[in-house]
Symmetry: D3
């Protein structure tokens, strides 16, 4: 039942790395508004923006043993993704585990549970997106699994999928769709750059995107404040 899956197939390295140029919002839009983790997953410090390949860990409530097991399965460019089998805000993760992960080139942690040592993690520059911050310790008594597909914060994540995380939250891109979504993200970003320039020049989205007709057909009415009474 409790397994560690080794030698998983990861998304294309170069694609996984390139996603770091795109915001979570952009990638989420680029894949038709799918893949966004629940908003309860927040960064422990502002300004981090990473992408990488998922190593997944299914953990029991308040027991971080399997995170120790997972370290060995990580390699350069990975992002650790941890989900408890039932809700827990215990502090599964702190700076010692971060030290171990940094030594292997892991880029960050996404955990639907608690994290501690946040001041030290910020100093080290190891970003974490977590459900809560709590100094509560965990035990090492019950097994779980590493590199199995799981649901983390409402999203289905498979080992090797791409994870992108920034100040807005976290999004997952399926391994097999990485190239396609990367391309769509690039297109979206380019298109937004054009829009941004027009907005900066004072143009209105009503005109840039031609919304006026449809608004009128739906029945939107313009009235003057003075004429209201």
């Amino acid at each position: 039942m409790d397994v560690v899956v080794q030698n998983i197939c990861r998304a294309d390295r170069s694609a996984a790395d390139d996603f770091a140029e795109y915001s979570v919002a952009t990638v989420h839009e680029a894949q038709a508004r799918t893949g966004l983790l629940a908003a309860r997953i927040k960064p422990i410090y502002v300004g981090a923006h990473i992408s990488g390949t998922a190593v997944t860990v299914s953990v029991p409530p308040a027991d971080n043993w399997m995170i120790h097991v997972a370290v060995e399965q990580c390699q350069e460019g990975d992002v650790l993704v941890v989900a408890p089998t039932s809700p827990s805000c215990a502090g599964y993760f702190g700076e010692l585990l971060a030290t171990a992960l940094m030594a292997r080139g892991v880029r960050g942690l996404v955990i639907d549970a608690g994290c501690r040592d946040v001041a030290e993690l910020a100093r080290m520059g190891f970003p974490v997106w977590s459900r809560c911050v709590s100094a509560t310790g965990t035990v090492k008594e019950t097994l779980g699994s590493v590199n199995v597909p799981l649901v983390c914060a409402g999203q289905w994540i498979e080992p090797g999928d791409v994870i992108i995380a920034d100040d807005d939250g976290v999004v997952v891109v399926a391994r097999r769709k990485a190239a396609e979504v990367l391309k769509a993200s690039k297109l979206r970003k380019e298109k937004e750059a054009v829009t941004r320039k027009r907005y900066q020049a004072g143009e209105l989205s009503l005109d840039v995107h031609g919304m006026r007709d449809r608004l009128a057909r739906k029945g939107l009415t313009y009235v003057d404040a003075a004429s209201k009474d």
Copy 2:
């Protein structure tokens, strides 16, 4: 039913601008502890402190179409105030809309719903006070209204009212009371400056505000720790 009210009457410009010298807590006290939006409305980055005149937008859940409509109604010195007709944490607003609003001189956004692109918004210096941060996109399908009176985060807000926002939250001052509340805020701030000096010098509020008698009458008793057992 769905209207855009144009040419609203705004609070006196100079008064609206001057409120930025007073904290939300001060203004809230100065108008007899009224007008404070619910504490769930938080700034997306620390350190912003603005005041301005409200342009209000009533939006359907997870639909940001009317914000696009509202941009055209904004002018220099306004603050956009957005309230959904039923609770939503979708990301109604991001840096593109902020770009459009900045081009018109809008000072910030207060939204009882979600916001995204928070890292970019911080870089741009466009402050937002929101209920949540979420990259979730919205649709453009259903109408709403612009510049109608509405309830935002528990407070009744009319177009043209003054909005003050800082790290503590957001407070609204009714357009017609702006001058009076501004004056009261000024008086309160001056009074606090005197109190602050006395506190800094080591005086106690018990003495500065003469509380000892009333405390004694209410029955407060001082005992020595040593004599307790």
Copy 3:
């Protein structure tokens, strides 16, 4: 019923001060995972790390009168600990009270209720750990008690106990156990330093802590991704 206890017995000054070298997580572990306040108590700004002796205040909901009373009972090296008798998120505390406390050498505030003026408190460098940020004012009508034992955010705290607070949260150490827990914290920190070095060198916790045998006995199985289908 409502008392102010004077001349309380405080934890040893030097021990109380030395705790500031240890994180909340370390102290919590060092005293067998006890004493941690509920995670809802968060710092109003990042980067503060204090320790000190508790002056406790039991306050009615939305009434901060007793905090004014408590100031007089504080001395250099204290931390004010405030708990309402029923839940409240009102803004009991702001920069004026902080000014009064700083004048007496108080190091910070822990409050299971609301706090305001957070921007100014950050500028002053007076750290607060609170349940909420809210500009809502409070009244001065009903008595409470100072320096009585109380429950704050789920922990029993007695006057004179040691309070340690950092970005992870707040932990309390009983006055009589201060020396013992300080020693245990020191030992733990030293032990962690050794572990950290080994992790930095790329060693795995599975080996450093000899976990492999026990994992195998519990039935953990390693499989190869390729062999799974």
Copy 4:
């Protein structure tokens, strides 16, 4: 500032009474999806369904004095509506106040705060819709106002407006629109009765409401499970 407004103008008695035949959902739809109080307001027992005219009370946090004042302003067919000026879950209301209100013919209470004695209130048949159930007592120290317009659970309510409440929640109908909304509610209910019969007979809403074309135009595709791989 703190006033009791007497002899308010109430919605037409007969209209206010007739609303009890319509569910909250029906009335909410009948007035274009407006007027619904926040879903946090829940009935303390199941099965109550009332309508009546609002007597409003603005109360300080954890202080129920003004509810005592409001009793005198109530008459047969009223519903008491209570909103605190800042969030509170204290138990403002129990069976003694309910006894006093029943003696005056009041039909129920809507309160964006706490309520207690819920077992006894159920036995008496005095329905309450509240934010929380809590035995916490309140004080009688600070004034508030009776029969002023206020925001309760996110909705603007004026004295004399119609309140309808059932197991789904609470909706308000503006006094001047009572007749019009009552008529729309009746029409909606009749229309739903026809729809219900067709659904009971096995007809699909896709056909009853002619949705198939629009779905197809939007691009909805039907595929067979067998053909998916």
Copy 5:
């Protein structure tokens, strides 16, 4: 992108039906503590206990159009499972849709969003497990999908899986594992019946399950209250 998958493969009818004899807790244990939906999904009335085969619906926030589409895909013995693509507490479902589903033999609804008409649904005997109760209406503007795999309240659910729901919550059993989990549930229930008899006779679990040795080895100490001081 937006599809309706027809003629899905359902779990064995007889197995799906027999699960109604086992509680959610029993089934959850019988499949190694997996499959439990988040505890936020609660029954709208007490006493319902159902099992059936899942027809899944992925819906946009505050838009219930696809539920209407899904009705046609339902047959005798199904349970409708609805998950919004981003969090929403709108009232997607009421008694009219329940009427349509009952006409097709559907046994209940599981929805990670809001539900309304709860009094009428109780009268009809159509059970719903929902995240919230809210009379808020929804629109019919945006497509979604029917009978696609999805995450509902934290669990991966595929069309045709078995859903069991009672007063404790909701659990999903994968279609292919239905027979095996049913058997394990039966065994667990039988075993519990034996345990229950022994407990009723006054035996202790410490003895029935032979826990005393392991407790002692872990270091549990028995002391007498009198000897504590």
Copy 6:
């Protein structure tokens, strides 16, 4: 560290039993508004009202082993009180443990964590006040303590204290104060009976409790609706 304290001193049996005639609200008031557990602790079914002597259990997160240990320490008239050392909503308790407790005459359970089998518990008539309902199972790996003083839902509870619980929540009375608080509860109930009669007869609390003068002195003003504009 982990102990089971045997032969605890319980509150006077007769006093502990007599408290069941008084509501939680009454007892809370009778002991000067102290002792009320947090409102998050709710009954799993309506209508239960118990009192008894506390047997306390401190449990690790998601581990119910010590509840099994505690059963042996219970006797006729006890109420089990369980608090996790860090927050958990796992289902620590179900009908098998309830069977064991009923065999020993235990009257109910108060737990600041999760409970399951709520339908069966209602059928058995074993009342539980819990933080959540969840079918999630727990492990039996880590020790805790029985009959040690602890904080449960924000209140300090010692073994042998009196627990009173009804539909409003739970209150604790210190063992040594049981007789005194019982007497005060009786007096309060008698006084309320008199007040109730006067209210039923249509008298107002303004007159019964002589509030009019103090209201006037505070500045309450009565105005007529007609004269407001």
